[in-house]
Amino acid sequence: MATVITTNSADTLAARFSNALPAGIDEATLRVIDEESEWLSVSRGTVDPVHSSFDSGAMITVWADGGTGIAATSDLSESGLRIALSEAKYWAEITATRAIAVAAPGLEHSGSYSSPLEQSWESVGLSDRIDLLQQVESQLNISDLIVDRSASLGRRKVRSLLLSSHGGEIEQTFNFVYPMLAATASSGNDAQTRTYGRGSFCGQGGVEVMDRFGFRDAAPAIAAEAIALLEAPNCPTGTMDILVAPDQMILQIHESIGHPLELDRILGDERNFAGTSFVTADMFGSFQYGSELLNVTFDPTVDGQLASYAFDDDGTPATRQHLIKDGVLLRPLGSAASQKRAGIEGVANSRACSWNRPPIDRMANLNVEPGDSSIDELIGDIENGVFLHTNNSWSIDDSRNKFQFSCELGRVIRNGELAEIVRNPSYRGISRNFWRNLSGVGNNDTFAVMGTPNCGKGELNQVIGTGHAAPVCRFSNIEVFGADQ
């Protein structure tokens, strides 16, 4: 295949950047992103147009006179970088007396990272990739009740290069794969959709990502469950125990632990859009966030997870850290810049979605660590409850307190045994109370490593992938309801 945008070598870009640096600055960084992607889908029996994307650009940040300025450009020539450097310096100067002071990073170290890769995307030809999707999609077509069906595969290859005027140089290459299946069954005034983890079975790697959750064989069960949901009773209403599968746990972690622990939210940066947090700076080190069974890590070192990396987008080396240990809140999701503003130790989580957006505090891989209960033990201890699978609706207040989530499929647990499936299972609660009601944590056999490909945050708006892993977990005394309330 022909190359569309020729990637500049690190040495070439370093030379251009060095030549273009203006005088009178404290530090400047150049963050270059080169991205190629491919999106394939088959919908209702038709191969949709193959879509590829080729993107290349750079963000320059200049620290000068106590201010910080940014300029993003797709012109990576020396003259293009010179113009962008001048623009960024201008912004640093005109905002200096009115800015929240952010110290220059002093980036002097170097490093690299590449996604683990067992079988490259290119090793399977385009025709074979389409054939696979057609085959899988056709397996969703099991009944006239199936009114919509689709199978899709996305692939992104991203090269990130961070250079500093202080000599730092960090190069990272990421390969992402996003498999997806969906079937909607409809009859009368009802429609029920079942999916392949609603996009969460994604990760870093190559073709092998498809096989981590059985993409090639998943379609028949997905379609059958969509039809079964049409005929299933509504989820019961009441206060009861819930068992939460990993593909719902990731949403629960994301919304009611991840976002409230973002330090830029706690510092107020996001109050006009994404929101604030019920967590305050004085809680770290003492606040009982959940029951003593709750252990949460920020772990960018997990092989193949969606948001693994060696350095964040400010160049801070990334390491595994406990955010919550034995239920006690220890540290926030706060980058180096936020840590200096708040005086709290955090993690390496300064991330941008691309070259045209500045880094902000983000989740990366945020995981609930496994416990020691088997799935049989977790189910066996429930007298009256529901097993919840696959998120399909989420809503939470701007302080991340009052939430209401719904799932694609529920299964009643009665007297310690799985019983009938139910449709429209939903539950609501308040974050801290919910996590304090964590009463059982599944062992490694119930543990799954997944991701959330589309997390929106920031002004300017950004969408980025976050990784989440979790075991099956049990929560007690939860307000559960179905569609009729």
């Binding site: 940014i70 993003a72 429609a191 510092l267 107020g268 701007d398 302080s399």
Partner: protein, 442 residues
């Protein structure tokens, strides 16, 4: 950013290199954006972004493949990039099956619209915002600059739509989550208009200083400001008005489509391109009519039909983009004077904003979400106290149907402030809505 001549030259060059019976479609987005982000009335992040992306669709017969490419702004380099993309698309096209849903515009219409650039100096605006904050806790974002949307094809069609706008979206915070949300957007910054926005927000902020109350779960009469109604209607805009969603029973308006549900007879929604700020052509060069009525007298009217859906579902296309979402949605006004809205509410909730809405039961069009920012308890038509955040969970058939008391007479124009990937050119026009009852659950 690029201008129309630059784009024309690129596509003309690419057209000259086409082979056989190839047809090329090209859509572009180009912008030069300044942004300043504020927290506590100080600058958190500031800078500028210049970017141009082109979406290419290379067709021969019923086979085609598509790609997006970022341009550098250097004519020679960009011409090479587009030639490289076309080579890639040609290679891929040989491997894909015919697309039965492909349709191209056989009635090419060229247009050219460039609005005047009357934007203020960025330093002046920055100074004005910090000054008017007046020591208050202001958080938000200011964006400004030119945005161009374009289409061209190898058949000679050329469309260029360029506007220069600003959008200042901000919140005054009193404490914790007690805050007033405001926005000021347009084409020309007018100091007195901004001052009025600040003064209005300041009055509401003072009201938030009173002791706030917790309301128990239950049904309450409510007045939704246009911004609050925007959150509900905005959710409907996501996969409810399009032909594909409706034909595959995934529209949240399933009951209306089946004739088993309806809204109040006063409710009329339309894709009002003539009075919006989005271009009147979509990414494949099909023109948008001035108006597509989506709901009329509380009942379903037309769907938004993209070219692909028009073939798949045998419907007439009406200029919808591929996602079949409205770009210039308008909700018709009613007969309530906005100044009398609290008086007509009497006792109940004034809801300044809703937030994070999602379907809790999509086929039933049941929506859940939160109150946010300025929400007050009202008695005797007067604001009594701010209300701590509440979760609502109710159907649109109740909110805009059986429980709708009326809509205010003058819809408010709301510029979309979204900047996902690029600055949005969408907008909505909505009135406020007075509800006899709205269900709150947490």
């Amino acid at each position: 950013m690029i201008d129309q001549q630059y784009f024309d030259n690129l596509i003309t060059t690419a057209t000259a290199a086409l082979t056989g019976d190839e047809v090329l479609l090209a859509a572009a987005h180009s912008e030069a954006t300044d942004f300043t982000r504020f927290n506590n009335a100080q600058v958190r992040q500031a800078g500028s972004i210049t970017q141009t992306s082109v979406d290419l669709d290379l067709i021969e017969g019923q086979r085609h493949t598509q790609a997006s490419v970022q341009l550098s702004g250097d004519a020679s380099a960009d011409s090479t990039r587009i030639a490289n993309v076309l080579d890639r698309l040609r290679e891929q096209r040989a491997l894909v099956p015919a697309d039965p849903h492909l349709v191209i515009n056989t009635e090419p219409t060229s247009t050219h619209q460039v609005g005047e650039n009357n934007l203020p100096d960025r330093n002046d605006t920055l100074a004005a915002i910090v000054d008017r904050a007046g020591g208050r806790d202001l958080v938000g974002i200011y964006t400004a600059g030119a945005v161009a949307t374009a289409f061209a094809n190898s058949l000679g069609q050329r469309n260029w739509f360029e506007t220069s706008t600003f959008n200042f979206d901000w919140t005054f915070y009193l404490q914790a989550d007690k805050a007033v949300k405001s926005s000021y957007a347009g084409f020309e910054w007018q100091a007195d208009a901004f001052d009025r926005k600040v003064a209005d927000a300041t009055v509401k902020l003072e009201a938030l200083g009173r002791d706030s109350i917790d309301l128990p779960r239950g049904d309450y009469a409510a007045y939704l400001t246009p911004a609050a109604l925007d959150e509900v209607v905005g959710l409907l805009s996501w996969n409810s008005f399009g032909a594909q969603a409706q034909q595959t029973s995934q529209s949240a308006l399933l009951h209306m489509l089946n004739g088993t549900g309806e809204l109040d007879a006063s409710v009329r929604l339309s894709e009002d391109t003539a009075n919006g700020v989005a271009p009147n052509f979509q990414e494949q060069g099909f023109m948008r009519p001035d108006e597509v009525v989506l709901i009329d007298e509380g009942k379903m009217a037309d769907a938004l039909v993209s070219p692909r859906s028009s073939v798949e579902f045998d419907m007439a296309p009406n200029g919808a983009a591929g996602d079949e979402s409205p770009r210039s949605l308008a909700v018709a006004g009613g007969d309530i004077d906005a100044d009398d809205a609290l008086g007509q509410l009497g006792t109940g909730l004034y809801i300044g904003n809703l937030w994070y809405s999602n379907f809790s039961d999509r086929p039933a069009c049941r929506v859940t979400g939160m109150t946010r920012f300025a929400t007050f308890w009202v008695e005797g038509g007067e604001i009594v106290a701010p209300v701590n955040v509440l979760r609502f969970d109710d159907t649109v058939y109740n909110m805009l149907g059986s429980q709708l008391k009326g809509l205010t007479s003058e819809p408010e124009f709301i510029f979309d402030n979204a900047t996902y990937g690029e600055r949005s050119s969408a907008s909505r026009r909505l009135p406020g809505a007075l509800l006899e009852a709205m269900r709150f659950t947490l």
